[in-house]
């Protein structure tokens, strides 16, 4: 039997541009995470060594940050509308413990993105913007006059707190997308999911696209 499912059995979940921006974002975030962790703690300094040394990591980190934040802003232009928290999410959230326990048959239905995915999106958007703003201050820190040093004193903790917020989301996102929701990882590579996958994980979205 063929491994390729009929087009009737699968639906398009992510278009090619969506998949590309997801992976641009993912790869640049992982580079930022690795170099950022090296600067965060000397215990992980070896990450900077592996990536070409401290000076190299320091040089590329801000440029990678520009690409990452740009990609997240692009996602916002594409997915922003789908990401608003609605009544569907409030109902879904009431049964979130069922979701965590994999009791998906007792879960209130989700749309194209479930509440967790939406919260992750906003964490990355606002976290990314906070990282960009504070990162620019730290990038050009020596150009800041002494009288404006308070800007630096805000940027230092903002950068690290925003980093921790995005890391929290990132851990959950990668874990859910690869280990728990089987098919999720493939869907963001090849774009397609089976109808039964959509029916379980995003039933309202399946209904919506089936109407068309």
């Amino acid at each position: 039997m063929s491994n390729i499912p009929n087009s009737e059995d699968t639906v398009l979940r992510y278009t090619l541009p969506e998949r590309i921006v997801h992976w641009v974002s993912a790869l640049f975030y992982m580079y930022l995470l690795a170099t950022g962790l090296a600067f965060y703690t000397p215990n992980l300094w070896w990450l900077a060594v592996v990536l070409g040394g401290g000076s190299t990591s320091r040089f590329w980190h801000p440029f990678a940050g520009l690409v990452f934040v740009s990609s997240v802003i692009y996602m916002w232009t594409r997915w922003g509308k789908d990401m608003h928290i609605t009544d569907v999410d409030r109902r879904w959230n009431k049964t979130v413990m069922n979701y965590i326990r994999n009791e998906d048959d007792r879960l209130n239905p989700a749309g194209r993105f479930n509440t967790g995915q939406k919260q992750y999106f906003w964490a990355m958007l606002y976290g990314g913007l906070a990282l960009l703003a504070s990162g620019l201050v730290l990038w050009f820190t020596d150009s800041l006059p002494w009288s404006l040093r308070w800007v630096r004193y805000i940027a230092v903790p903002v950068h690290v707190i925003a980093f921790l917020v995005t890391v929290a989301g990132f851990i959950v996102h990668v874990y859910m997308g690869t280990a728990v929701v089987r098919g999720g990882f493939a869907s963001v590579i090849r774009g397609e999911v089976t109808r039964s996958w959509a029916r379980i994980h995003h039933p309202l979205w399946l209904e919506e696209i089936s109407k068309k």
Binding site: R101, N102, G183
Partner: protein, 295 residues
């Protein structure tokens, strides 16, 4: 700049303890602002000994050579024209790295061994380990470290660690014609400074005192001020400390964040062991679909 391994008592961003085993008296400079005549001999001596090209001076309506310290200009006499008790005061102060006992630059630095503190109290930058991130600039309460755009590394006064380690006094001390600069153990200089303060108090400067701020654990530069109650007249911060932004990041945020990240990974692992992956019922789909979807 120099490698003095057995005397390194603290090093930035290090997981192991510093290698220093020698015990030395804390060395200091005494800067008596009341006998400084603003001749700038110390500026020239610093440039000459450290082989730093002369900077283009900036005319901004003052005798001061430059508005701020530069990556290649580590010793600046600040000329402050101000009013004290209704009369003009022309206050000169030698500005340079204060060699704090608790250095904010060292605390803030993320690059292993880029900032070190020696047994004699000298705080030094190892430019070969510096990554040019500028966090020391955020950590310093005295506006001292300067980033060189061309090399992407920071520079500052080394307290002539190369001269001091072979028993010489720093170049600026050597050049000072009035004796307003003196070099020696901090204890001895505090005593000399104290005598000078007593003299000043007897001579109509009741607020004279020594600037040795406790917020940074004291400084390796002992400064005698005629108006110690108002150090800001000399453009010195009144009560400096390592900025809260830096200490917050390096202590509570740093530890909580680290624990949080590790906990996140541990919880995800435990969750997987307990609940595993989600099941998609295959009753209404051919079995092969699921195989493809899991890729």
């Amino acid at each position: 700049m120099a490698e003095k391994t057995l005397e390194i008592m603290r090093a930035s961003a290090s997981t192991a303890s510093a290698p220093g085993i020698r015990q030395e008296a804390t060395l200091s400079k005494l800067i008596d602002t009341t006998t400084c005549i603003g001749c700038k001999a110390c500026e020239v001596a610093c440039q000459q000994w450290n082989d730093l090209e002369p900077e283009l001076t900036v005319q901004f309506g003052s005798y001061q050579t430059l508005p701020e310290l530069q990556p290649r200009f580590w010793n600046l006499i600040r000329f402050n024209e101000t009013e004290v008790n209704g009369s003009l005061a022309w206050l000169m102060r030698k500005d340079q790295c204060m060699h704090c006992a608790d250095p904010g630059c060292l605390v803030a630095c993320p690059a292993p061994n880029a900032v070190v503190q020696y047994a004699n109290g000298i705080v030094d930058f190892n430019q070969d380990a510096c990554i040019g991130c500028g966090y020391c600039i955020a950590g310093c309460p005295f506006n001292i470290p300067k980033l060189n755009q061309k090399t992407s590394r920071v520079y500052k006064c080394t307290l002539c660690v190369d001269r001091v380690s072979v028993g010489l006094e720093p170049a600026c001390i050597k050049a000072c014609p009035t004796g307003c600069l003196q070099f020696g153990s901090k204890a001895a200089l505090l005593e000399i400074g104290g005598r000078r303060v007593a003299q000043l108090k007897a001579n109509g400067f009741p607020n004279a005192g020594i600037y040795n701020p406790p917020g940074v654990g004291g400084t390796g530069v002992v400064t005698v001020l005629a108006h110690a109650d108002r150090p800001e007249l000399y453009r010195l911060p009144k009560d400096p400390s390592v900025p809260a932004a830096v200490t917050l990041w390096k202590l509570p945020i740093h530890w909580l964040g680290g624990i949080g990240m590790v906990a996140g990974v541990v919880i995800a692992t435990l969750h997987y062991l307990r609940y595993g992956p989600k099941h998609v019922p295959e009753d209404d789909e051919p079995r092969n679909d699921q195989k493809v979807a899991t890729g």
